[in-house]
Every structure is written in structure tokens, then in C-alpha cells.
């Protein structure tokens, strides 16, 4: 049995017939052709698959595609504004907030959610906010710095 879904990914509208068990992560990667969203585990622990569903972060490996029917999904590919990187992308680059890059798309989108709900987090709040995303390369230190920087830049841009 297949069911129809309409999902808008990064502003582009898709219509597919999918198996109800299809995970949103696989939908985005296999049917959307957007491979920036990574699958790093099978127990919803690593957070590499984090995307935004209607502006709110979600682990796309534990969301069914059918649950996102009618939603607007933003992946790492849709975060920049044209050629202008999002402040979080810039700050991850500036602060060496990534090494192998595999956790990075999910980490950046989790940080996006963090700053959406807390525009000026303390380091402890950043660490707490990102504890659902695993990184094996950076020891998290430069990720914390990157998020702190991005928060400051976004606050300055808002004024």
C-alpha cells in the first residue's frame, strides 16, 4: 500500500506516493535528492538527520514522511539565502566548528532551533541545547563557540 504525500522541501513542492513506513530522512534523501541530511544511527540518538519541519527542529529519522504531509521542511541545503550563508554556517566555518562534517548539517539545524527559542544562550544552555546531537570529532568546544558567535551576530543584525 502506498499513500500520497505532498511535502515542500526548501521551497520546492514534491508529490509522491510512498510506503507509510518511509522515514522522512529517506524521503528527503532518496526522493527529494537532497543528501545533505545525514543518517548516523538507527535509534534517534545522533541527531545528524535533524531538519526543520515548519520551522521547528525534528529528527527526520524518527519522523515518517506521511507525518510531514503538507509541511514545509528545511534542510541544510535550504538554510543559506542564495549565496549568502546563514550566520550559523558562517560561524561554524569561522570557529572551526566542524571536522569531518557528517554531524554538521544536523548540528547547525539543532543550533538554529536553539537560537529560535533562546536568542542569547549561555555556554551551558548551548551545551544543554545540543546534547541531543553527537559529534565525535570536535569535542563540541568549537561548536559551542560557533553558536555563541552566531547568536551575537544574529542579535546585532536584528537591531
Amino acid at each position: 500500500m502506498k499513500v500520497p504525500v505532498r511535502i515542500t522541501v526548501n521551497g520546492r513542492r514534491f508529490e509522491h506516493e510512498v510506503e507509510p513506513r518511509l522515514l522522512l530522512a529517506h524521503y528527503i534523501r532518496d526522493l527529494g535528492g537532497l543528501t545533505g541530511t545525514k543518517v548516523g544511527c538507527d535509534t534517534s540518538q545522533c541527531g545528524s538527520c535533524t531538519v526543520l519541519i515548519d520551522g521547528v527542529s525534528a529528527k527526520s529519522c524518527t519522523t515518517l514522511a506521511v507525518q510531514a504531509d503538507g509541511a514545509n521542511v528545511t534542510t541544510i541545503e535550504g538554510l543559506a539565502d542564495g549565496d549568502a550563508l546563514h550566520p550559523l554556517q558562517e560561524s561554524f566555518w569561522d570557529r572551526h566548528g566542524l571536522q569531518c562534517g557528517f554531524c554538521t548539517p544536523g548540528m547547525i539545524l539543532a543550533a538554529y532551533e536553539l537560537l529560535r527559542t533562546n536568542a542569547s544562550p549561555s555556554d551551558a544552555e548551548i551545551r544543554h541545547g545540543l546534547e541531543g546531537n553527537l559529534c565525535r570529532c570536535t569535542g563540541y568546544q568549537n561548536i559551542v563557540r560557533a553558536v555563541r558567535d552566531a547568536a551575537a551576530q544574529m542579535a546585532a543584525a536584528d537591531q
Binding site: 510506503e19 534523501r29 537532497l34 543528501t35 545533505g36 541530511t37 545525514k38 543518517v39 548516523g40 544511527c41 538507527d42 535509534t43 540518538q45 545522533c46 545528524s48 534542510t75 541544510i76 541545503e77 538554510l79 543559506a80 550563508l85 554556517q89 561554524f92 566555518w93 569561522d94 572551526h96 566542524l98 571536522q99 569531518c100 562534517g101 557528517f102 554531524c103 554538521t104 548539517p105 547547525i108 555556554d123 551551558a124 548551548i126 551545551r127 544543554h128 545540543l130 546534547e131 546531537n133 553527537l134 559529534c135 565525535r136 570529532c137 570536535t138 569535542g139 563540541y140 568546544q141 568549537n142 561548536i143 559551542v144
Partner: protein, 793 residues
């Protein structure tokens, strides 16, 4: 080195593709007509296969083929072990790509399904019927070596008996009579004894392993995309196992999402994927699930160590004696025998003058996942022994741990120092490193604060590590002598295009460490071009020269040296061409920052770009000079490099709950001149946290039947952002005297140092409570129980 670019904190050049989701990892590769493979893993730690039925799976929707060991037997050669440790009675057990008769760990492949989609392949796995006759299993390496333990293998690949599960017995001994040293210490000194369990760790690169194989039946050419740290070695091993000649085999390591040693080995599943592609004539993709990664991708450590230190009553070390049972898992992985021996035993004297030393290492087959290099690979296990024993010696004698270290350090040296294990360290100032660390952290004041006693049930502890590591592997002659089945040199090709842009083709294969940036910095600093004008090619065996892989902190140290020397060759040729263009003699030419000029007349100059253009169009070149501006270098290091440092961990242990909080951490590392300090610091951060993970949280656990019970990220405790303090990272700079750039390597330093530092800190905190040892990881439960036991309740 002329330019400021060497040592500058430029942003990484690999990042734009990584932060925008446009990087291509193995799992992102799509090919026309591609099908998907799923491996059926046995799920038993030890069992005899009595029947396999695949008919139902073959008939399942989307299934293209199902293969078992019957199909691959004789077609795929057994998995090779590539580190043939000499003088160690090495017994290599047969390691088939697909198990046909007996399975020896839960990740053994027994069948593969190929289907039109990955979902269909995984669905069909459930339809394969396998009957097993379970056999007794053994996981603990010391237990496996005991008489009466379940035996995994009867014969090795040469038909010789394997007894007591012993894969090898390797010994290192050096200096004076170690038995005498201990006899003397027993009589009139101190002997410290300890049992250390270096628990099994699971590397957990965030990208799991995977392979895509494409075979062209018409040409006989095979392309294998793989999540490997060493594509050229994989090409060689793939050729051996699959029979595809090396010239028709292309291995590509695309973007690789971390490795930490777990992507060094060649794996059965890679070659099974190749087998499927060759049988079917269609591209085949296999991507490991995380559960599979836990049960089939190599683990690290797994040592049972009995260690003893002899010393005088005033704290001078006189001898070290160790017996180690090193779990190898069910089969010998590609480089496994060298890890607990060469990379461990030869570093056992560390930063100290140790007059007599002996270590016996027993490599033991167990029903666990094969054990391989894991960040640090042998050196963390050596550092831990020494640093723990030194702290215990300090406690016994009532000395400060820092003072015992200072008393036993090898004095500062800058051009070679032979240690008791016969290694010749290149340069180091261990007393200097520790003294800078103590001063920077206010160590003596922290001790004062500690003396004030616990506050609110929380006990403060300080833990030091002084370490030296062996990196930059290594001289190929030594590689041969120690049984490594390959060379350890690196090569680079540097090519200038007519517009002065540069292509670098390099054998090394970075996978997150940032060498696309640091290599470009080397080129820019050596010949004055802009970093943006240098493109680094790596990871494709068709376009890059031979390389021996990225592991052992060797890529910048060895590959970087090859690159620097290639650029220097270009500079030499460019000088000749520039002299010709300026109608000057070569002897009168000078070079600075990308310009060749006549001595004393800086205006009479040609830039490297001028020279690149003329060399490429070749309208006028000096007599006997070939067209083009290109150089190739093979750099075989004359010696290893020996980075070192000193770390301090500060913890607070809550005696009521056993909870350990790492409240502060300072790392001082000396990896020689730093090409990009931001990247160096990033390596230290990640390395330290992996080592902290071992001390406090991580550990592979098996049940009695040999089932891995920490088989997912839910059950295996990886470090998380909110468990860690901000790390303080500082450095000293001691160039390697034998290296063209003086650089040493820093990828593993943090991990080598931090486990012992954190462990020592926790034990330091627990001293007033009477606790002297707790097995790692130091979870709240274990710490709490140890406190209860020591308090007699």
C-alpha cells in the same frame, strides 16, 4: 619557510561544501542501475552453521540475488592480515569473507541480499533461514587464554595448530636485568603493582562504513567507493581478495565522515559488495546501519594488564614489568597485531628514564568484534600504565605526583635520545612541558585548595599525564623489520598550470582533519602563491600517487614533508628558469615570497607565476631544462617523530552519588611548529574528549553468551556536549630535527593523554575515602560501589 601563511589561522577550505550539505559521502553516491546490498550477520558469538535456506528470500519482492559462503568460497580469498609481527609465533586464523561453517562473533557475515532498494534488501534478510548449533563463547582475553576456554580456531592459515586461542606472544625487553631491579626494590625500595583493564571501546565515527562497487564487464575494470582512511592500501588488499588486478582497480575515498582507526582495516562486507557487483554486472551499494557498525566494525583497546613498577625509596624508577592479554576479537584485522605490540610496548618507557623494562604481550582470539587501531592505538594503553604507576608511586611515598615525574624525566634533548626500548626519540623537553603546565594552571595553588577538604560532599581531584607518542610512521626499512606489509613513505605531485594555479596530488587521505587547508598552507608558504590558488586532490587512486594512509598522526608529518620537498624542487627549477629569463646566472639569484630576483637588484625579478607561464609554453628555456613546472617527491622519513606534552584534569566527585564531574582540563601539547593553530586545537579538543569518554563513560559490554549489550547509541555512552567543560589548550614548540618542516603530528595526542589524566584525577579525589582502584569507565555506579566498599558499608 618564508611566508606568514605557515602558522596562520585561516578558515578551512573544505568547509563550504560541508556546511551547505553539498559534500558527497559514500552513502550519497547514486549510479544508474544501482542495486542495494544488505548483510545477514549471524547474531551468535560462536556457533556452527548447520543449514542455510535462501529460497524464500530469493523470491521476495525486489530481490535480485542472495549469496552465501558457498558462492564466495574460492572466489573471494580469505581476508589478509597485513602486519606479520616477527618473532612472535604469529598464528593467523583463516578469515573468510562469508562464514560457511562456523561463526565466531556476532558480526560474522553469513549471507548477502541484493535488491532493487535497500528496504527490500533488509526485508528479505528476515526470510533467510539459518540453523545454528551454538558453541560456548569467550570474550575476556585473559579467560580466553586459560586452559579449558572455548577454542575459536583449530588451525592457522598454514595448517599449524592454534592452541589456547593464542594469536601471538610478543616480548620487549631492554636495559638492565629487570628481575634484579625488582629483587632490589623488594629488598630495599618500593614495588607498585596494579591490574589495569583497558576496556573495549567502540570508535563510533559519525558516518558508518559503506561501499559502492561498479564493475565494467567489458573492460574488467572495477571502481570501489569506500569509507576508507587508506584507499591505496585498500586497492592492494581488494586486488588480493577479489583477484581484480591492481591496474584495473580504482578505489575512491570520497568525503569520509571520521575514522579514528575504524576505517583503516579492509572488511569482508566491502569485498562481498565487490563480489555482488561483479556477479551481477550492476553497481551495488552497501551502507552499514549503526547497529551493524557496533557489531561488525572494529573496536579498540581491550587489554588486561598486570603491571609492576620498581623504584627506590626516594622515588626513582628502577624497573617496569608488564604482562598484557590483548583481545584480538574473532580474527586478526588488517593491522591488528602491530597495535598492542610495536605501537604499545616500544613506548612503554614514555617520558622517563627507566633502566630496565620487560613486557609480555599475548594476543588472544576471543568471540568479540575484531580489535584494530583506535585513536592513539597502543599508545594510550602504554601511557596509562606509566602515568597510573607514577601516581601510585607518589601516593606510596607521600610525594606530589608532579615531583615524581620531574624526578624521573629524560632531560631536555633536541637532537636524538635513545631510550631503553631502542627507539630514538627526536626532540623533547618533558620537564619544560610539565613545568609550564603547572605554572599555567596554578597547580600548587589547586593542591592547597584541595587540602581544605571536601565541600558539600564533593571531593576535588587533580590528575596529571606526561606523555610522548610515536608518530609520523615511519621509515619503510623499519616497517619491513617490524613485519608491516607495506611501506610507510608518502608521495606528492605538484603541478603548476600556465596561469600560476597549482594542483597537488597527494597519496595521503585525510577524512576530517583539515589537510586540504594545511597542505595548501605548506605550498603557499614554500613558494609564495596564494592559498586560494592551490587545489589539493586526495582519496582517488586513479589520480593520486601511492599513499600509505591517514592514521598514526602521520599525514601532515609524512605527507606534508613529501609535499614541502616537491615544492622545493619546483623552486629550484623555477630559479633556473627565472635566471634564464633575467639573463643572470643562477648563482646570482635570490628568492623571497614568490619572487626570484637578482641579488642586490630586487627590481630585476620574475614571479613564480611568470616562471610557471614560461615553463608551460616553453618558448624559451635554459639549455637542457624540460618544459612544464611539475615535481614529484617520495618522502621516506629517516625516523619517527615524537610529539609530547603534559595534561591536567580537575574533577569533583560527589561521594554521595559517585558522580564525577570534569570541572577543568588543560592540555599542553608540543607537536612542533603549527601550520594552522586553529586546526591543531581542534584536533586536541576532539582527542581529549575521546579519551575522557574512555575514562568516564564508554565501554563495550558483552553478556555471558557473547552478545554485545552496548549495541547502539542508546546503550553505549558517547560524550555529549553538556558533560564537558571548556578545555584550555596551550602549547610549546619543539621542532623535529629531522623533519623538513619540523612538524610532528597531533591527531592522537589528546586521546593518548586524557584517559590517564582523568583517571588519575578521580583516584586522587577518592584517596581520602580509601578507594584505590575502580575499573573504567568510572560510572557513578562503579564509583559509588567502590566508596561503599572502602567505607566498609
Amino acid at each position: 619557510m618564508s611566508s606568514r601563511i605557515f602558522g596562520s589561522r585561516i578558515r578551512r577550505r573544505e568547509d563550504p561544501r560541508l556546511i551547505t550539505g553539498s559534500a558527497v559521502y559514500t552513502g550519497d553516491i547514486e549510479l544508474p542501475g544501482m542495486v542495494h546490498a544488505a548483510m545477514l550477520r549471524c547474531g551468535h558469538a560462536h556457533a556452527r552453521i548447520t543449514r542455510i535456506a535462501t529460497e524464500q528470500a530469493e523470491a521476495a519482492p525486489g530481490v535480485v540475488a542472495v549469496y552465501t559462503g558457498v558462492d564466495t568460497d574460492g572466489v573471494l580469498q580469505p581476508m589478509p592480515c597485513a602486519w606479520l609481527l616477527p618473532d612472535a609465533e604469529l598464528k593467523i586464523a583463516p578469515y573468510p569473507c562469508i562464514a560457511k561453517d562456523v561463526v565466531r562473533y556476532t558480526g560474522d557475515v553469513v549471507a548477502v541480499v541484493v535488491a532493487e532498494s535497500a528496504h527490500e534488501a533488509y526485508d528479505a534478510l528476515d526470510l533467510i533461514e539459518v540453523d545454528y548449533e551454538p558453541l560456548p563463547a569467550v570474550i575476556d582475553p585473559e579467560e580466553a587464554a586459560r586452559a579449558g576456554a572455548p577454542e575459536l580456531h583449530a588451525k592457522d592459515i598454514n595448517g599449524d595448530d592454534i592452541s589456547g586461542n593464542q594469536a601471538f606472544h610478543w616480548t620487549v625487553a631492554g636495559g638492565g636485568d629487570v628481575e634484579l631491579a625488582f629483587a632490589e626494590a623488594e629488598a630495599d625500595g618500593v614495588v607498585i603493582k596494579e591490574r589495569i583493564l583497558q576496556q573495549r571501546l567502540i570508535p563510533n565515527a559519525m558516518e558508518t562504513r559503506g561501499a559502492v562497487a561498479q564493475y565494467n564487464r567489458a573492460t574488467g575494470e572495477l571502481t570501489l567507493w569506500n569509507t576508507t582512511q587508506n584507499p591505496h592500501i585498500l586497492r592492494f588488499l581488494c586486488s588480493v581478495v577479489t583477484g581484480v588486478p591492481e591496474d584495473k582497480l580504482r578505489v575512491i575515498a570520497p568525503e569520509v565522515g571520521g575514522g579514528f582507526g575504524s576505517k583503516i582495516a579492509a572488511y569482508p562486507a566491502d569485498f562481498v559488495t565487490v563480489f555482488c557487483a561483479m556477479r551481477l554486472g550492476r553497481p551495488v551499494k552497501w551502507i552499514e546501519s549503526r547497529s551493524e557498525n557496533y557489531q561488525a566494525t572494529t573496536h579498540g583497546r581491550d587489554h588486561v594488564q598486570d603491571v609492576e613498577l620498581a623504584a627506590t625509596k626516594d622515588g626513582r624508577i628502577t624497573g617496569l614489568r608488564c604482562t598484557v592479554y590483548a583481545g584480538m576479537g574473532a580474527y586478526l584485522s588488517t593491522a591488528a597485531p602491530g597495535i598492542p605490540t610495536i605501537l604499545h610496548g616500544l613506548m612503554l618507557s614514555g617520558c622517563y628514564t627507566i633502566p630496565a623494562l620487560k613486557e609480555d604481550v599475548y594476543g588472544v582470539y576471543t568471540n568479540g568484534v575484531p580489535v584494530e587501531a583506535y585513536r592513539g592505538a597502543g599508545r594510550p594503553e602504554a601511557t596509562f600504565i606509566l602515568e597510573r604507576l607514577v601516581d601510585m608511586l607518589a601516593n606510596r611515598l607521600g610525594m606530589d605526583p608532579a615531583d615524581v615525574r620531574i624526578k624521573n624525566f629524560i632531560p631536555k634533548f633536541d637532537d636524538g635520545h635513545e631510550v631503553v626500548t631502542t627507539l630514538n626519540y627526536d626532540s623533547g623537553d618533558y620537564p619544560g612541558a610539565l613545568s609550564k603546565l603547572l605554572e599555567h594552571t596554578g597547580y600548587r595553588a589547586l593542591r592547597e585548595r584541595q587540602r581544605a577538604g571536601p565541600s558539600n560532599g564533593k571531593y576535588m581531584g587533580l590528575g596529571l599525564t606526561s606523555y610522548v607518542e610515536i608518530c609520523g610512521l615511519g621509515p619503510s626499512q623499519v616497517a619491513g623489520a617490524i613485519g608491516f606489509q607495506g611501506g610507510l613513505w608518502e608521495s606528492a605531485i605538484v603541478r603548476f598550470h600556465p596561469t600560476g594555479k597549482v594542483h597537488v596530488f597527494i597519496g595521503a587521505s585525510p577524512h576530517g582533519q583539515g589537510e586540504e587547508t594545511t597542505f595548501a598552507q605548506i605550498v603557499a608558504s614554500e613558494i609564495g602563491v596564494d592559498v586560494a590558488d592551490v587545489k589539493i586532490f586526495h582519496g582517488d587512486t586513479d589520480s593520486t600517487p601511492m599513499g600509505w594512509g591517514t592514521y598514526g598522526s602521520r599525514t601532515t608529518a609524512v605527507g606534508g614533508a613529501a609535499l614541502a620537498l616537491a615544492v622545493r624542487k619546483i623552486r629550484d627549477k623555477a630559479k633556473v628558469v627565472a635566471a634564464h629569463l633575467l639573463e643572470a646566472s643562477v648563482e646570482d639569484m635570490d628568492y623571497e615570497d614568490g619572487k626570484f630576483f637578482v641579488k642586490g637588484s630586487p627590481d630585476r625579478a620574475k614571479t613564480i607565476q611568470d616562471v610557471a607561464l614560461m615553463a608551460n609554453v616553453a618558448w624559451t628555456l635554459p639549455e637542457g631544462v624540460e618544459a612544464g613546472l611539475e615535481a614529484t617527491t617520495f618522502y621516506d622519513p629517516p625516523n619517527f617523530v615524537f610529539p609530547y606534552g603534559a595534561h591536567l584534569a580537575v574533577v569533583e566527585v560527589d561521594a554521595r552519588t559517585g558522580h564525577v564531574e570534569l570541572t577543568g582540563y588543560t592540555a599542553l601539547d608540543d607537536c612542533g611548529p603549527q601550520i594552522n593553530p586553529t586546526i591543531v586545537e581542534g584536533q586536541v579538543h576532539g582527542g581529549v574528549v575521546q579519551g575522557v569518554g574512555q575514562a568516564l563513560w564508554e565501554g563495550a559490554a558483552y553478556d555471558e553468551s557473547g552478545q554485545l549489550v552496548t549495541g547502539s547509541m542508546l546503550d553505549y555512552a558517547l560524550p555529549r556536549a553538556d558533560q564537558l567543560p571548556d578545555l584550555d589548550v596551550i602549547s610549546t614548540v619543539t621542532p623535529s630535527p629531522h623533519h623538513p618542516l619540523g612538524v610532528k603530528g597531533v591527531g592522537e595526542a589528546g586521546t593518548i593523554a586524557s584517559t590517564a589524566a582523568v583517571y588519575n584525577a578521580v583516584m586522587d579525589a577518592l584517596r581520602p575515602l580509601g578507594v584505590t582502584r575502580v575499573d573504567m569507565p568510572l560510572t557513578p555506579e562503579r564509583v559509588w560501589r567502590a566508596i561503599q566498599e572502602a567505607q566498609g558499608s
